[in-house]
Amino acid sequence: MWVAPNPRKPRPSPMPEPPRFTAAVDSNSRRTPVRVAFLTRRTSPQVKVTDEDTVMTWPNGLFRALVAIELLVIGLIWLSILWDAPLEAFADPMLTPNPAKAPWYFLGLQELLHYFPPVVAGVLIPSLVLMALVVVPYFNINVESEGVWAKNRQTRLRVFGVGMLALVALLLAYKVYAVLAPTVLIGAAMLAAAQPHPSGRFAKWLASKPLSFWIVTWFLIAASVLTVIGTFFRGPGWAWVWPWEL
């Protein structure tokens, strides 16, 4: 049986309405598959699509990847043509260069070594960072990603104040101004995010950020500042120099 909607418009009339469908019978299941559809007035059945649009990995995904890789290779080849890798004199254990620097990605740590004893800068801090990275996805506070001030605002503000003061005091005691600056910056941003009724898009965006966002952003800025200082601003005896004096 095949039921089709009546194309006629329903009249606004107190009279009993005529049936709004016509019935038809057809034995050819190929031409008219068996189905019954009831269409009532003013509603239209909707198809809820739960599957996202997909594309084929080959060629859509892999071709884009190839283009990206090609651009990277072109960039690296240009770099290799224009700049030579450094090669200094033959290694001499008797002749210590001043300063002796680690590879750039460890210069943040080496900069910390300037402030803290080796067991703190070289062992404790890297281990803590590594452990923190591993546990990131296993903390509910990260997974829920709720704004840091969304609940228990007063209590959290108090905890934040005490923690911030302790951290600032520690950094001041060891004269780690390179980390102090990002710490104060992030602290100020967190306080700005804590205003009770954020208005404006930026304020709302700040207020929506969870604790993990603030910690990682603080870490990213502090690590970048330390690395840049260690790379460009440290000369003989790990004393402060300007990049153009290196």
Binding site: A65, I69, L76, V119, P137
Partner: protein
């Protein structure tokens, strides 16, 4: 001309030998395109289809892809460099000079290896922060984040062990500074340092150990964990695209 080339290309793909190697055939249907991925040992870690949003630049900036690409460049250039390198003193440094003055395109080879290594460290860090800020570490992708942290440390160790190999002043003192930090580990620091260097100072033994780590052990571990990382992307439901699915926001009206 181009048509003729295409004709030859398609003829080649229809030969029995070609089809015995690449079983995907010559078609452009979705079935054929699926088979390109399914029938390749290298590609079958990937899913046959990906979300449309997952291939957009905005979502990933292609940082994971590019990290893998730098790793591939490093393997190729690294193998070529191994042909000219002796992991002993003073030959190691002499080989650097040979690369500079004797080997054809030797300088270019070393430059490409060096800059790709720096690029890989940068890209891997960038990849990690991008994944964090998109919240892509959340369930069910927690474990893949941990695999990523393992890959980050492997990347740093790979770069660090390679740093010693030229055996110049820069290499020697960078490794000396770094390995001295190990002594600060309580109780076992000096033992670990001795194990790593094969002696109390950075010497020829250290060079050999770093060479074996750099060229054999760490790359093998990296390949293993990269494979796990890719496989888990697929098993965890593809690349995290975040946000509400656009298809849920709009329902398709019945025609």
């Amino acid at each position: 001309m181009i048509q003729a080339m295409e004709g030859y290309w398609n003829q080649l793909r229809r030969t029995r030998v070609w089809q015995s190697v690449f079983r995907s055939g010559t078609g452009t249907s979705n079935l054929h395109r699926s088979q390109v991925v399914q029938q390749s040992i290298f590609l079958h870690l990937l899913a046959v289809k990906v979300r449309k949003r997952a291939v957009s630049f905005r979502v990933t900036w292609y940082l994971g892809t590019l990290s893998t690409a730098t790793f591939a460049i490093l393997v190729v250039t690294g193998i070529l460099l191994m042909l000219y390198y002796h992991p002993s003193t003073p030959e190691a440094y002499a080989d650097m000079k040979d690369l500079q003055f004797v080997v054809s395109a030797g300088v270019f080879l070393r430059n490409l290896h060096r800059w790709s290594a720096h690029a890989m460290v940068l890209l891997v860090f960038a990849h990690m922060f991008k994944v964090f800020y998109r919240g892509a570490y959340r369930s069910p992708r927690e474990f893949n984040w941990v695999v990523g942290v393992v890959l980050l440390t492997l990347t740093l160790f790979l770069s660090y062990t390679g740093y010693l190999l030229p055996w110049d002043q820069l290499a020697f003192w960078a490794i000396t500074v770094g390995s001295n930090l190990l002594s600060a580990v309580p109780l076992v620091g000096d033992k670990i340092r001795f194990l790593m260097l094969g002696g109390h100072t950075v010497n020829a033994n250290a060079l050999l150990r770093f060479y074996v780590l750099h060229c054999v052990i760490l790359p093998l571990l990296a390949v293993l964990f990269i494979a796990i990382h890719f496989w888990r992307i697929r098993k965890d439901g593809g690349i995290h695209v975040g946000g509400p699915k656009p298809a849920e926001a709009e329902t398709l009206p019945h025609a």
